[in-house]
Symmetry: C2
Subunit: 149 residues, 2 copies
Amino acid sequence: MNERQTIGQAATASGMPADNIRYYEKIGLVAKPSRTEGNYRTYGPNEVRRLGFIRRARELGFSIEQVREMLEMTPHHEQDCGRVDQLTHEHLLSIDRKIADLTALRHELEAMLTSCHGGTVRDCRILEAIAPSKSAVTPHRHAVGQAKI
Amino acid sequence: MNERQTIGQAATASGMPADNIRYYEKIGLVAKPSRTEGNYRTYGPNEVRRLGFIRRARELGFSIEQVREMLEMTPHHEQDCGRVDQLTHEHLLSIDRKIADLTALRHELEAMLTSCHGGTVRDCRILEAIAPSKSAVTPHRHAVGQAKI
DNA sequence: TATAAACCCTGGAGTTACTCCAGGGTCAAG
DNA sequence: CTTGACCCTGGAGTAACTCCAGGGTTTATA
């Protein structure tokens, strides 16, 4: 009749592995829950809902820090929700950027694939497309970021 | 008249920071280069081209391990290049998956954004959309992977 | 009641691919 | 001969987990 759940049950209910819950506790994203006599964590319905919120926000691609900000906001009912809107907007933009990058990449890879008609490594069109030509090298400034894809 | 370059020059020529070159050396992706008397690394044109290849392949989103495999293949001119094709194909598929995931996400976020017309946190449509409803919780098996986006 | 299976605990290491730093040495120009 | 730009090493830090060993606890079964 006790509605408090063990970490495994909370994991099942919220849709994430128990390890994640402990991790979120460690980084202070969720509060330390109460414990049983046997030192087991126990979670009430509110805590489980909070975990579900986190899982869903992460699934939507929000970073832990963004989730943290949203969680800190939710108890302040009267506060303006413009910040949530802004976070979502920023997130949407970054997704658009990723989609654009990946689409460009997709085209390059597809072109490389269609140009390859088998054969040996010596005349592989794909390796050729990746390799820098013997003369030209792209100039650049230091500290150019690598593609994070 | 010596065409060997310092790590900084090789970095500029290949388009990546010097730190990356040292890192690639550390993980064995590139061989240890020769050194000057003052213990500076020096790179010849072939090594610089190899670095350029790496940078380009990384830019195309191949993982280090995939790059490693391609690099190990290039000296074997007579070998069939089907493996390169396969790697590229797999990579293309994973990109397609990512694009699909991100596009789905995009739609969700956009829907959330258009449903939000300002107001307080209490009736924020976005937070509402993320929060799990009081009753329904998605069942799941343990060890469900999180979205990596 | 005994014991095995299933669950939970902690702390720490490993993952990817870098990025940045401190605390030094080396080299070229003025 | 000093200043500044470059280079060296080793190690820590990043994001967000994921997995493990070596324990303790609880529950179901024999």
